[in-house]
Symmetry: C3
């Protein structure tokens, strides 16, 4: 039996899809090529999109569905996809009837269920939960939605629909409406849009704007430029509040440099290629009775929407008028139909059943390789997002305080990004174990060489560092502590 249970090193060859950014652009295109090969387009004009069980290539394989939150379409479309591939499924769809009801950690559940299946899809109410699961799993783990973090396979379906409708993925203009804060679907979607050079028009419900860490990441990592204020009048003349404009080749490994970008004035007035509507994620908000934008035929009667595909990840609960269903721009049921071939493709590639395998790609979005700050709990700073998996009492023994050190504007500044939920922390103090001092100097993490980096420990506040026995670097340079000791003695 393995004695190496340390997550990070245990199963280096296994690929997991937790974030849409775990896939490179080229991999996404590969998923779509394979999905197209599984798509059976029927001649029936009434319902032209369906797929048959085109293959038995997964006939020796089992998919485990592990859902800690309600789901119908994600779970059933994954299971349908596995069955259409010729495989089988085992399902735990209700946390109340699973071992989680007995208090078992996700980390343990994953390690056990990995013995029963060949691939696993997980949904969980906590942000970053599926990243934790992936750390412990020897078989591929797919994120079926984790808290408000990401929902990458929904984004794959969305992109596939956009590609079918527009014959391209590059340089689209997409409006996104509703709860941009709570919707994990939106978070995966905007990263992907930015990577393919889209112009993103946020139309958030009040107080439900994109979360700061997503907004900043769009600007910094994906090189989006924010354009606010009035439109240029060339289009329909509407006032716009804001627009993310991405250059055509956004995701170089170079860092954000605003001055390098020119405002793409065309983007402002351009017609909208797609309107993406999302429901109010009641389960993630305390105030259940907020006002919420409603998209209907009247809203969509503006000329700029005349050719827009109207998309929705579903379920909808009133924010998208059912009377619109008969409009030619209503593509949400077609969008849902692509769930099966796209997920068939992803499963087949993760299991290496199609000649090609995602395992052979170099792995993940070609994002900057940030240094990893990694400390066992309960030492030092913890993720500030209260819904992050690191704060789940059942996972206490299985999570670590892990953050990517992300450089910001200048090379001399940085912030911490939680390795699980990807929320950022900008203010913190850095301490040296060896020297016993601390300082409100985030950039110390950037300046340190490998040797010093391991010596550093981060605290949320000066008071915490002090309580842990560290001295302020400034204070340490003064003789006060010694004096105090003397005066007391």
């Amino acid at each position: 039996m393995s004695t190496k249970n340390t997550p990070a090193t245990r199963h280096p060859a296994t690929r997991h899809i937790v974030s849409i950014n775990d896939l490179t652009d080229r991999e996404i295109e590969t998923v779509f090529d394979v999905a197209q090969s599984f798509l059976r387009e029927l001649p029936d004009s009434h319902f032209p999109y369906r797929i048959g069980r085109s293959t038995k290539i997964a006939s020796d394989c089992i998919l485990a569905s592990l859902f800690y939150e309600p789901s119908t379409r994600t779970r059933l479309s994954f299971e349908s996809a596995m069955l259409r591939l010729g495989g089988e499924t085992i399902t735990s769809a209700d946390p109340a009837t699973s071992s989680a009801a007995k208090g078992e950690s996700l980390a343990d559940s994953v390690r056990v269920i990995a013995n029963y299946a060949d691939i696993m899809v997980i949904r969980h109410p906590r942000d970053g939960a599926v990243r934790l699961a992936a750390e412990y799993s020897p078989i591929p783990v797919i994120n079926g939605g984790d808290g408000s973090h990401e929902h990458p396979t929904q984004t794959l379906c969305d992109l596939f629909l956009l590609k079918k409708k527009n014959k391209r993925l590059k340089n689209l203009k997409v409006a996104i409406s509703g709860d941009l804060r709570g919707s994990r679907t939106i978070h995966s979607f905007v990263y992907a849009l930015a990577r393919f050079g889209a112009t993103i028009m946020p139309m958030a419900a009040k107080g439900m704007e994109l979360p700061p860490h997503v907004d900043q990441r769009l600007r910094e990592e994906f090189r989006c430029q924010m354009v606010s204020g009035k439109a240029d009048g060339k289009g329909d003349g509407d006032a716009i509040d804001a627009l993310y404009v991405t250059p055509e080749e956004p995701h170089q490994q170079s860092l954000f440099a605003a001055s390098e970008l020119e405002t793409n004035a065309d983007a402002v007035g351009k017609k909208v290629d797609a309107v993406y509507v999302t429901r109010f994620q009641k389960e993630r908000w305390a105030d259940k009775e907020q006002s919420y934008p409603k998209i209907d035929r009247k809203f969509l009667s503006e000329p700029k929407y005349s050719d827009a595909s109207v998309m929705h990840p579903l379920p909808r609960v009133g924010e998208l008028d059912a009377a619109f269903d008969v409009d030619r721009r209503a593509v949400y049921f077609e969008q849902a139909a692509y769930g099966v071939p796209v997920r068939m493709a992803l499963i087949a590639l993760l299991l290496g059943l199609k000649g090609k395998s995602l395992h052979k790609f170099t792995g993940g979005f070609e994002r900057p390789k940030y240094p990893l700050y990694d400390q066992p709990r309960p030492i030092g700073i913890r993720c500030a997002n209260k819904n992050c998996i690191v704060h789940d009492p059942m996972e206490t023994q299985y999570v670590r305080n892990k953050f990517y050190v992300v450089k910001t504007q200048s090379e001399a500044e940085c912030k911490l990004r939680c390795a699980y939920c990807e929320c950022d922390i900008e203010d913190f103090v850095v301490a040296s174990r060896k020297n016993k001092w601390f300082a409100a100097d985030p950039a110390a993490l950037v300046r340190a060489d490998d040797q010093h980096f391991k010596d550093l420990i981060v605290f949320a506040k000066a008071a915490e560092a002090a309580e842990a026995g560290f001295h302020s670097r400034r204070a340490a340079a003064e003789p006060k502590p010694a004096r105090r000791a003397t005066s007391k003695g």
Copy 2:
């Protein structure tokens, strides 16, 4: 993508089984022929009825189970049937862990899940819910029980048992005991019995008689004659309360005409072929502690029951004595065993896997073709049954005010039958959009030609019509409204 989402026209070729009356007599016989071919009768004298996986004919097909109410036997027997056919299943068995928990409408759920499967079985707490689902589904939908409306596949199992035991379906005498009001199983069953010329002996628990709309439909559409009072003394001399006697060829398209029928005196004294026991449907009654008839060996000791098959759709909760299980007349577990081959047959025929296909039959019970009154909500009269799917808040945007105009005794009278739950409304007022009058004249719907029929709108009460701006036809002919206006002016 289809731009024609209007339910009625979208998928004209798809057959759904929502009511037992969606199958013709000939189709029912075909289902039984196919079911017999799937039945493996084992030589083991201890448990002679079982089926093997006789075929792989459905090996490319997926059944979706969509259950919004508790079920074990219906769901598991459908799934077992699909697996025995070589197919696969996907299951949503708990509304609390499905997208319904997020507030999704059935109409949306069905349109999405139709992309994941080839055929669907639905159970729902609302009467008529599965008719709504079928309107939106491009794949065949089978009713696994909807509210107190119908449960047609249970009836198929029941009829199959009756045919095996009696070597015929025609002219049986069947007693039905218990909750005849709340039991959807009973409703489907009595329609089928009447269609095959049965004599039906209702033995309802107090206050749980057949619902008025079922009773009337038996008499009118299925030409049952009600015989009440004392029996003729030829049998065991018992007093009888009521008996539905059906002529041998009941379901002509001609209407009810009591005078044409002669009382079948033989039916009264004849021995009972089957006693059908049902449980108290606690979940559908406010008063959970009603008295309820109990069927046991003593009850069944009367000579007229000496050869009766004792049937029960199960589960039972005390109304059928377990001590009776060892009696040779106890056939309820055999009845349950037929669930698999009968459902295998229905699935195979709906999918066209057996050479023949239900799609090729002319469709449905050869019932009268009633005109359809169809108005979008919220205009005019609504179904009076509060448990009808049209009153489900989640379906508001997806249902219409749809009623069949059913002629009654004389050709000049009619009532409205809800197209979803099949409950009737007899009193209503009819208004003319063009002329702006209304009148308490239901027969106006019958008298109108096609052109005028489209002009008519129905209200539940005169007050509602008046509120909507219509004038009483009589009042309109008088000068009063004008006078009032004048006096005010």
Copy 3:
């Protein structure tokens, strides 16, 4: 249709696995041989144990999972096992969405579901529930855990792990820690250990010692000898509280005879082969906040544990430190991995798919053939265990007062063992129907020949016998009752 529904006689050829003692030692070895043939040991050093779908031998078979209590690993590993065999599964995992929610008895559910599947696994909160289910099932039933009674397939996995680690099953020394009272896993495990001649070191949490009936059965039926007090000093010198030492050939059909055994002094000081940790079964205890032993690296640092396999049936909830996972002695995830091949083997053998079949073995552990006292309810004594299935209101009509008459120390004494939950009753009174007397004379059951045995009826207390119209044998011989009658007259 069968008219012989009497459980005991209905399906004599069907084998069920309710207790680990339903398998002989030879059968257990056969299960392991077959399991080994299903085990695919991968060369990957990171995760060496996994199985592929090695076969299609069950391709015509369906497994029904019937779970009335939460489960993930047991249910999913059974389902994975069936799928790896090429079979299919149907699942009822949530009592709230099954017919049990409508009040259906287990006895009825089993008889219905037996028509849908070829083999069934059941979990239930009541002790002995699966024995009741097996009585009514024509297809093989496997116990997936019933109350605090047994969990035999977990024990098979545990033994398989022990055999893999120690290259033998005989004469192991195993420490068992935690909730020995509530853990059904422990109960099956200690019986099996004793049968294979193990030395068992109980380390119970306070108040959670082995239940008296398990303790006594170890001593009497499995000939364990209890050694208490200080260890002999040869080992690490620790104080020991108690130790069950079993002779090498423990389960002869001869009865317990303490004097025949010599204390195996070596057993006391011997190194421990395995430490078996169990979680606090909160759901079975009223006081949820008990103190509970925690096993961690410090505890396991004692020399006697230096080569011990540390086992856990999982889930764990804190009693086994996650930091220990990287220790080479941590084998619990490997233990879990064996769940699939072991269950594959058991299913294959019960269905006769491997040439050999458990049906052909002589059946069960070669335990003493105790006489069966069997009375319909509500006559006479009932099981004293309030969680026994006989006390479930839904099963009232389906259970009987059934007890094995187990001889104790001397041939002239006996106790009653419930045929369902296997708890014992030692004090009771025996009455004669014919003679109308009763006496506090348990041994009367042992002395009676077959003819008299049928005449006897047992009551829990003299008062109950008297109330039922029996006279005390002593009193009956005296003239007092007559006198009383006289004085009153």
